[in-house]
């Protein structure tokens, strides 16, 4: 135990002396949170619309009015020609074309569903999908409003149908549809991971490169003492990192925390064992810092993308969702979001904590087995 304390003291001193590392730990995270969290959103605020209104009726005008009143669409090109609209899409003058057919209002009154055409520039697919969803919402609201008005009455008279089902909707946890909280918290999970894995793998690779690791290997330090002593300071750093990130989210972005923050620390404490263990495992496979950085980078990118930090796990195919179950960062991000956004309690996250703990045990065991004081 005493030996471990000596190692911890040495590591802590070195961390505090290492300006580059301190910068590495604290400046990028804050910048990333401040800038990237706001860039990382799928919410599309503005769409330039090319409008082809072939009906020019009060109904079609009400529909167009709904599009522009939403604040998300603006008519940039007004043309009766489909070709001109297409050209606008090609040159990116407009990102969507709305085509209202001739006889739009007439068909509505008769109960013959008219076909509105929406053409989106899917070159930027994520934005196209979102624009489609916005358009669908606007059309749904239009339909519901028209049903209550004279058009609905004349339609029911024409087809003798009853009024339909009134649909109400409610969005829990994030009614404004903002992405900031979701992405900021995802970024926070990735930052804690980055610090944990990169610092550990780089630190040990550095000692290998300089030759001090060999010196430690001729001392009576046991593998366990070495690992515990090495990882403890980084574990604490990871938690400090988390704290800084939480402060930025709370104070700069003003996002309230719905659930108990203590639960976040419990989850992070367990998760960091998994992340640090992974860094340690990487360090046993490399000889130089450069190799450590590359391998870490590769592992991180894979873990981030398969862990649903940037794109939802629910969108992945079945096998990838199964793989994600074994990815500790998926559970950590889910835990952060469940507690901070949705106000989840211990019962909601205990499964995730268990999964992270299991992963930690596996990687730490592997690292322990692979780390050798005596070369074979």
């Amino acid at each position: 135990m005493r030996t471990i304390l000596f190692i911890i003291r040495k590591e802590t001193l070195q961390v505090l002396r290492d300006r580059i590392m301190l910068v590495q730990i604290f400046v990028p995270p804050v910048l990333q949170l401040l800038i990237l969290a706001q860039a990382m959103t799928f919410e599309v605020k503005h769409t330039d619309l090319a409008l082809v209104d072939l009906d020019r009726s009060p109904a079609s005008e009400r529909l167009v009015e709904r599009f522009t009143a939403s604040g998300r669409f603006e008519v940039a090109v007004w043309t009766p020609s489909g070709d001109v609209a297409d050209e606008a899409l090609l040159t990116r003058e407009a990102s969507a074309v709305l085509r209202i057919p001739e006889g739009f209002e007439r068909d509505l009154r008769r109960g013959q569903p008219p076909a509105v055409q929406l053409v989106l520039n899917a070159e930027d697919g994520a934005a196209a999908g979102v624009r489609q969803a916005y358009a669908a919402q606007i059309l749904a609201a239009f339909t519901q409003a028209e049903a209550a008005g004279p058009i609905g009455a004349s339609m029911r008279a024409a087809t003798d149908a009853r009024p339909g089902v009134a649909i109400q909707t409610r969005t829990l946890y994030n009614p404004e549809g903002a992405y900031l909280a979701y992405m900021a918290i995802g970024l926070l999970a990735s930052l804690v991971t980055l610090v944990g894995i990169l610092l550990t793998s780089q630190n040990i690779a550095r000692e290998k490169e300089i030759g001090t690791l060999e010196q430690l290997n001729v001392t009576p330090i046991t593998k366990r003492q070495f690992i515990v002593g090495k990882l403890a300071p980084f574990w604490v750093l990871g938690l400090i990192e988390l704290t800084v990130g939480l402060l930025v989210i709370r104070l700069v972005f003003g996002i309230p925390f719905a659930g108990p923050v203590a639960l976040v620390y419990l989850g992070a404490g367990v998760y960091l064992f998994a992340a640090l263990g992974l860094g340690l495992l990487i360090s046993t496979a490399v000889q130089t810092q450069q190799q450590a950085q590359f391998l870490t980078f590769f592992v991180l990118v894979t873990f981030f993308f398969l862990g649903g930090i940037f794109t939802p796990v629910q969108s992945m195919p079945g096998w990838a969702q199964t793989v994600a179950e074994f990815n500790p960062i998926k559970h950590f991000a889910a835990l952060l979001r469940a507690v901070l956004i949705k106000g989840g309690g211990f019962g909601d996250v205990v499964g995730g904590i268990g999964a992270m703990a299991a992963f930690a045990v596996v990687v730490l065991t592997l690292a322990l087995l692979r780390y050798r004081k005596t070369a074979a």
Binding site: T3, F6, L13, T212, P220, K373, A375
Partner: protein, 257 residues
């Protein structure tokens, strides 16, 4: 072959090796070396670059597992009980082992703690060591800012901090000026007088003359072993340098033909 053991009995030797061998794939780095070092001896381990010295030292310190043969250091088998060996030895590698970003004191305290010294022992030995080296004023200086010669002396003293039975020095005077080398050897003698066995590799042949006994490694084997006077007599040479050249040349000629 099998009955030809080292001249010193295993129980009395500080370092004892029989048929110690290490291969890397098909390359034989150390080829059945057999020798022993007596307690309190200053033992010079000479050889050209690539002769296998560092590989042998790594096996004797428990850093590298032997491929064959046996070796005992400080009374323990290096393959069976490397941790017992590590407790009883000091090691100064070719690469500088202290942390540049820690101060002199912090380095000493760290290694003292690693070897299980009590706080009091660390404080006492550190004071004595700094006084001996004349480093008192440098105690709070970061090691990275010290000149190379000072670093080497410090490195050596740290390797002796836990009073090991054997200390292994791998090219301790590489790149150091003659005055510092001289001082360094005074430190080595002082350690030996205190009862520590010193196992030192070097390629400065004049330094070999300072050793009690020397061995000369050529192509993974021990080509000569004895006191400097014995070797000079055996090869009818005026200096160890000449002995070395005679042993090394046939191998080089064989390699180039």
């Amino acid at each position: 072959m099998a009955d030809r053991g080292p001249t010193i009995p295993r129980e009395e030797a500080a370092v004892w090796a029989q048929d110690l061998t290490r291969t890397f794939g098909s390359f034989i780095a150390v080829d059945h070396i057999t020798f022993a070092v007596a307690q309190g001896e200053v033992f010079g381990f000479l050889g050209a670059n690539g002769a296998g010295k560092t590989t042998a030292i790594k096996m004797l310190t428990g850093l590298l597992a032997p491929s064959g043969g046996t070796a005992h250091t400080a009374g323990y088998d290096v393959a069976e009980q490397p941790d017992e060996v590590k407790r009883r030895i000091g090691y100064m590698s070719q690469r500088f082992a202290l942390y540049d970003d820690l101060t002199v004191k912090e380095n000493v305290r760290f290694y003292g703690g690693v070897y299980g010294l009590t706080d009091r022992q660390i404080a006492e030995r550190m004071a004595a060591m700094l006084a001996r080296l004349g480093f008192e004023r440098m105690a709070r200086e970061r090691v990275g800012r010290l000149p190379l010669g000072w670093k080497q002396k410090l490195d050596f003293s740290v390797a002796l901090l836990h009073e090991p039975e054997v200390v292994f020095l791998d090219e301790p005077t590489g790149g150091v000026d003659p005055v510092t080398r001289r001082q360094f050897w005074e430190l080595i003698y002082a350690a030996a007088q205190g009862g520590t066995t010193v196992f030192v590799t070097t390629h400065y042949m004049d330094e070999a003359e300072y050793c009690d006994r020397v061995s000369i490694m050529v192509a993974g084997t021990i080509a000569a072993l004895g006191t400097p006077a014995e070797l000079k007599a055996q090869f009818a040479a005026a200096s160890i340098d000449e002995v070395f050249l005679r042993l090394a040349r046939p191998v080089e000629e064989a390699a180039s033909s």
